[in-house]
């Protein structure tokens, strides 16, 4: 049962990864190239020797990017399916497709959008190599806190459901989540390592492309996963109920 869901989640994630790779090639790579050109220009102006190329740019932008996005997509789809297994049948009367779509929206907000407001994606040339450990730590702390707050908010909405009705319960829970985010955002240190003369346009377009890649991944997973498990879960609930009433 769960194994089947996991396998389907990973396959859906892989397909989402292929689409996200195409998106990244078209909208992301031009920005990466511009950022690297800026980086090289700066190094040259400073009289530094050009960085040794371990992997060629063609490989990085081709098979390397594909590997990264596809593995990430499959892993995301797999984890998504496990969360779905917990959530299905526990979120009111939402069916497979509704549960899947709702989880994708909540996950996209909690894992990508909200943490990204505090620690946004950065192109090459932005970021000091010496602070990589520190930045990575903060990045994952932000995601962990955000996801924990989202899980708590969903729990809160469920508890308030009967008293307040679906709409008001969801609004109260969303506000509670936003309060937690505002507090955490104020508590965690800011990071700004964008070089003074880095193009604002390239930075903006890079971040929009990065958000777009994630949107493709989460939208495809959220919509496709519900569709591919609908039948499996329908037969299961019928079988279960039929047994119960037999």
């Amino acid at each position: 049962m769960v194994g089947k869901l996991l396998l389907r989640g990973m396959l859906v994630g892989l397909i989402a990864g292929i689409l996200a790779f195409a998106f990244a090639r078209v909208y992301g790579e031009p920005q990466v190239d511009k950022a690297i050109a800026f980086e090289e220009q700066k190094a040259q102006a400073a009289g530094e020797a050009p960085e040794e190329e371990i992997v060629s740019r063609t490989t990085q932008a081709g098979i390397g990017l594909a590997t990264g996005v596809l593995v990430y997509g499959a892993a995301l789809g797999g984890i998504f399916s496990l969360v779905f297994a917990f959530a299905y049948g526990r979120l009111g009367s939402l069916g497979p497709r509704g549960t899947s779509a709702l989880l994708a929206v909540l996950g996209f907000v909690a894992v990508i959008v909200i943490p990204g407001l505090k620690y946004p994606a950065n192109p090459p040339a932005v970021g000091n190599p010496e602070t990589i450990g520190y930045r990575t730590e903060l990045f994952f702390i932000m995601i962990l806190v955000s996801v924990a707050a989202m899980v708590a908010a969903v729990g809160l909405a469920q508890r308030l459901w009967k008293q307040l009705g679906a709409w008001n319960a969801a609004i109260v829970a969303a506000l509670a989540y936003l309060v937690v985010f505002a507090l955490v955002k104020a508590a965690l240190p800011n990071i700004n390592e964008v070089p003074e003369d880095f193009s604002a346009m390239v930075l903006w377009q890079f971040r929009v492309a990065s958000l777009g890649i994630q949107l493709v991944l989460w939208a495809v997973i959220g919509l496709a996963f519900g569709a591919v498990v609908e039948r499996q879960l329908a037969t299961r609930s019928q079988g279960g109920l039929a047994r119960r009433y037999a």
Partner: protein, 69 residues
């Protein structure tokens, strides 16, 4: 009664947690490890020597939003 039970609109039945847990622990751990290799290996921490993994997935790492050098 059975007509209602067998209708496609039947209420969703939750999967028991004990059925999910083994998959969630082992599967989830492996999948997180995969994300670690794409997102953070040879960056903040390193299990393998050298910079090959980092350089190979470099573009994906930046574009997926992970902190990078």
């Amino acid at each position: 009664m059975s007509d209602i039970a067998l209708s496609p609109g039947a209420a969703p039945v939750a999967i028991p947690v004990r059925e999910i847990l083994p998959w969630a622990i082992f599967g989830g751990l492996l999948l997180l490890l995969a994300i670690y290799f794409i997102g953070a290996e040879e960056g903040a921490t390193s299990l393998i020597r050298g910079m090959y993994v980092h350089e190979f997935v470099h573009d994906g790492r930046h574009l997926l939003g992970f902190p990078c050098h």
